[in-house]
Symmetry: C2
Subunit: 365 residues, 2 copies
Amino acid sequence: MAKQKKENPEVRADGLDERKLKILHAVIRNYLETGEPVGSRTISKYTDLNLSSATIRNEMSDLEELGYIVQPHTSAGRIPTDKAYRLYVDTMMEEKDREINNLKGMLVEAEEKMDMMLKNVAKVLAVNTNYATVVTAPAIHGNKLKFIQISRVDDSQILATIVVEGNMIRNNMISVDEPLSDETMLKLNILLNTHLTGMSLDEINLGMITHLKEQAGIDSKIVGEILDAVAQAIRGEDDLEVYTSGANNILKYPELADNQRAGDLINTFEEKQALARIAADSLDGNEGTGIQIYIGEESPIEAMKDCSVVTATYELGEGMRGSIAIVGPKRMDYDKVVGTLKTMKVELEDMYKKKSSKKSKKSDQ
Amino acid sequence: MAKQKKENPEVRADGLDERKLKILHAVIRNYLETGEPVGSRTISKYTDLNLSSATIRNEMSDLEELGYIVQPHTSAGRIPTDKAYRLYVDTMMEEKDREINNLKGMLVEAEEKMDMMLKNVAKVLAVNTNYATVVTAPAIHGNKLKFIQISRVDDSQILATIVVEGNMIRNNMISVDEPLSDETMLKLNILLNTHLTGMSLDEINLGMITHLKEQAGIDSKIVGEILDAVAQAIRGEDDLEVYTSGANNILKYPELADNQRAGDLINTFEEKQALARIAADSLDGNEGTGIQIYIGEESPIEAMKDCSVVTATYELGEGMRGSIAIVGPKRMDYDKVVGTLKTMKVELEDMYKKKSSKKSKKSDQ
DNA sequence: GTTAGCACTCTAAATAAATGAGTGCTAACA
DNA sequence: TGTTAGCACTCATTTATTTAGAGTGCTAAC
């Protein structure tokens, strides 16, 4: 096993030849597992390169110069930089095929209600990966109106109930100065349903709105309010539900667990609203595999600058897209996480297909 | 300042004379502030008793024997036991009158939507006290049905929208095997509204239900499902919303911050559903001041065995009662917390009164 | 190009010593 | 009889010192 092929210098743009790559890979894998700086001797045994630690040392020295690894202090092993993680994730990762069949089992219990199910997804993921998880409910993005019902609750209040494709329901109480007559109510209902049902946000244009208001006559103010509600419902704006689980896992990683940082992170998880950004970013982004990885500074959320975030997008039927994210230390097990996430994505989408092919029994909201 | 009144031994049932009480009080106060075991010398100076540390030592020795204080180890100061806290809370506490006028200001911003407001209450409390807080939305306990609307969404699904007193809205999708005719729908709506509006859970009895089902004729199965939904809505069972804030504050108290415990606690806060128990207990309990204190083992929640929990009940109008709780270390500043909680309770109730005297503009849900 | 070997660095762990807060007890005092 | 000063003792905490070991860089030899 002597003589490396010297006829193949393999000088790539980034200055990494085959061997350096292998060594870097080994360093990263090892660091992911142990969380400790890794030294040359370890690598010497870890790889099948049959090189002495001294040689590895030389190579590592190069790698350090290239910015892929650093030493926390002189005479410690090396740890990967963000740059190394990025390279790893982009080119070197070989997804582990996880056996998460049990996930499936654990989910089945609660498939009744959407919110319960998603909460469960978050929990199952957190327990399985030992990282913190964030799941956002499918935002009914660009979706269609299915049904509107206007009802009079009492003399001064009417209730607009709006159902969009996918059975998301939204209620809106609207105050009126004087009671509306029964005919007016009836007229409104018919008017709105005939004109708006099946429409998406884009299709409801100004012309139509003016037309509607004209038709409604005196009640144009109410029509306006209702249309606002409809728009909100379709956009699904203010009720982007976010479910989290396993925030306490953060405390398991010493590099994150120190007082200030951990507190901030946990706070972010509790506040939730900041987490919506993850979803947004993830939904806008990558259309391909649906998986997106943010390493350290790349993260969309301030408090997560010391973490890595892996997100997946799932899609239930037409345009109903939600996201699943896993937040952990930079040395998270990317392969495993990506694998798990992919499985979960598929699982979720399957489950929806099956569910909607039966017949949906309960509303989710 | 010599000569204690020896003619007044003041031997109470619990074996505590005036002086012992004073000393115990001092120990507790001091421990609350510092979190460190407190020694005899400190007390000697802390109180106005003008006693030497030696005397204090003797008294403390007695107090230890009586079970009010313990030493973590020989030759450490003493710390209060749960029993001492209980005594303190029951008899020795003198509420600080807090100036929380700023709380008011901080709340005003978001008084629009109920859920936003409660979230804000939780947050403001957490920031102000440096403890973790739990706020539950007013459960519409024993409340009345205001309005029902049954609508046909499509051929196989009908939607029941139920509004209860206080404008809590609940939707329920119900599947039907075959489409219902327009008349049937109309009949159902009239039937349900005329018979059920204004009813509380107790008032809807079996007789009435059978009567309704008879009237409805063929649709009795659907009526059954609707009534179930109504019952759930009135009981407000499964959507007892719980808002938390400041879970990260837990990390600020070393006695709680150790890995396992803190993790469990934070988890409890994230899961939320366990926290409902606090609300339940608090609502059932104390009708007087509305304040209830659980110390250590007394806590209704397992994970909080090392904490103290102070709860307050607030009441918005008829029977709509929610709870506010503060969770902190056993050495939390009870006086301050109770004061703050009382203020917040009043604030909240006031705000509701003002709001409902105007006219409620938006639904909360 | 690879490797053995050595001197050097620096952390982490182990050990030892110093500190000091606090106690219990006793004997003296008022 | 209650109070107090004083002293010996305990033990957690802090600080200093040592040791061990992991890892590096460099050089010289293969």
